[in-house]
């Protein structure tokens, strides 16, 4: 049997040990920061970071000579198509028509391939040329390309028309009848300075045109 005094001393010492063990360990002020840094360091990379890594990751690609030739041909086609786009005189397509008869029809279909800017307004150009076989609209807005903007026959005999989206600005243009005869728009102001001996017309597309404008 242990002595009462000795047993009490051991119990007290054991209680001290238990109390010490139960106390939370001391945590420094920088502990949270270290934990968060570790978490951020272990987070998976984002889409762009993975894409960047993918670009630089070495890999082995095997392809047959036929496939290589096909890829080369495809690359040439892409380059040719890009050069063709660069050669397009205008980015947004273009237009022309009688200033007196022009309409602004926002949101309608356009006869051009490139998307028109949001500020573009559809302008209708009209020419009466009863004996014409073909009529083209040619001007600043399509790089003076006679093949870019052909007019279509309207239901009324002899009337040719086309609509084109134009961004605000001033444009010089003319109609080319049957590929040889330049005709100014009889309903629009004449462009000043016929530098090349053929008449042209001018149209001003205003920045805001609530009901269409021919200034």
């Amino acid at each position: 049997m242990p002595e009462p005094g000795e047993g009490g001393g051991e119990r007290d010492a054991l209680a001290d040990v238990i109390r010490t063990l139960r106390e939370p360990p001391p945590i420094g002020a920088e502990f949270d920061a270290r934990v968060m840094n570790a978490v951020r360091r272990d987070r998976p990379p984002g889409v762009w970071a993975r894409a960047w890594e993918w670009l630089g990751e070495p890999r082995t690609v095997a392809f047959s000579p036929a496939a290589g030739l096909a890829m080369a041909a495809g690359l040439l086609l892409v380059v040719a198509a890009t050069l063709r786009l660069i050669d397009q005189p205008t980015g947004g397509g273009a237009v022309a028509g009688s200033a007196e008869t022009q309409d602004v029809v926002n949101g309608a279909a356009r006869p051009v391939a490139m998307p028109a800017p949001a500020s573009a307004q559809r302008i209708r150009f009209v020419l009466y040329a009863r004996d014409a076989g073909r009529v083209a609209l040619v001007g600043d807005f399509n790089g003076w390309d006679a093949s870019a903007t052909p007019l279509r026959r309207a239901a009324t005999a002899g009337v040719w028309t086309v609509e084109v989206p134009l961004v605000p600005g001033r444009y010089t243009y003319a109609f080319l009848v049957d590929g040889t005869r330049w005709v100014a728009d009889p309903a629009a102001p004449r462009a000043v300075g016929d530098d090349f001996g053929t008449p042209s017309s001018a149209i001003q597309v205003p920045a805001t045109s609530p009901g269409g404008s021919s200034l």
């Binding site: 960047w52 670009l55 630089g56 990751e57 070495p58 890999r59 082995t60 690609v61 095997a62 392809f63 047959s64 000579p65 290589g68 890009t82 050069l83 786009l85 660069i86 050669d87 397009q88 005189p89 040619v138 600043d140 790089g143 003076w144 390309d145 006679a146 600005g169 001033r170 010089t172 330049w182 102001p189 004449r190 462009a191 000043v192 300075g193 530098d195 090349f196 001996g197 053929t198 042209s200 001018a202 001003q204 205003p206 920045a207 805001t208 609530p210 404008s213 021919s214 200034l215």
Partner: protein, 231 residues
């Protein structure tokens, strides 16, 4: 290397130095972007003979270095090419336009927008004096004058004498009449001319009416009464 009928290409940039890999990646990205700035040269190269193109491009480069809008110069050259003009005539037209753009910019001031400069050049070509452009800018030092210049040129194109059109435009510029009303005035003048009114008279009548309407509108504001007429 080649393996059993196939070409094997070892591709990758990771093995290169950091700066070299970065440069190569940037080069790949840049090469993927179309050279939009080459559009003008491509158009001219496709439509002009080499000698004409060289002369036109020299004029365009000079204009660009002076801060002038250059697209009208390219358009003028393309117009000449489309109309099958001789090279010398195309070059002369482009140089003349470049001179008018420079004069217009000088008259309208350094703050003139490209649209104002282009319209100013058209006005000069139509017979408007540089002094008129300066007076127009002085009348509207802060506001745009593109619409005024367009109206001025179009009136002259309809047969209104340059002096009459200039006076009318300056009067309108000094009023509170906005761009939409300016366009309305121009349409009315054109209609009157089409109906047989002499161009100068049509301009004078319509501009006077527009000024009176503007004055009436400003004096009819609620709470503001018109000054009584003297007997």
């Amino acid at each position: 290397m080649k393996t059993s009928g196939s070409w094997t290409v070892h591709a990758g940039l990771a093995g290169r130095s950091g700066a070299g890999a970065l440069a190569l990646r940037l080069a790949l990205l840049i090469a993927a972007v179309p050279a939009a700035g080459a559009a003008q040269d491509a158009r001219l190269a496709a439509r002009l003979d080499p000698a004409t193109r060289t002369a036109v491009e020299a004029t365009i480069d000079t204009a660009r270095s002076r801060g002038l809008p250059v697209e009208p110069l390219a358009a003028k050259a393309l117009e000449g090419a489309s109309k099958r003009a001789e090279g010398a005539r195309i070059v002369a037209a482009v140089r003349a336009l470049a001179g008018e753009l420079a004069t217009a910019r000088d008259a309208l001031g350094p703050s003139a927008t490209p649209a104002e400069i282009v319209s100013g050049a058209s006005a000069l070509r139509a017979g408007v004096s540089a002094a008129t452009l300066r007076r127009l800018r002085a009348t509207r030092p802060a506001g745009p004058v593109t619409t005024h210049l367009a109206m001025l040129v179009d009136l002259i194109g309809r047969g209104v004498p340059a002096e009459s059109a200039s006076v009318a435009t300056l009067v309108l510029a000094g009023s509170t009449i906005g761009d939409a009303d300016l366009m309305a005035v121009r349409r009315l003048v054109e209609r009157d001319i089409a109906l047989g009114t002499p161009p100068a008279a049509a301009t004078s009548v319509r501009v006077s009416a527009a000024i009176q309407d503007a004055l009436r509108a400003t004096t009819n504001v609620p709470g503001v009464s018109r000054a009584p007429k003297r007997p």
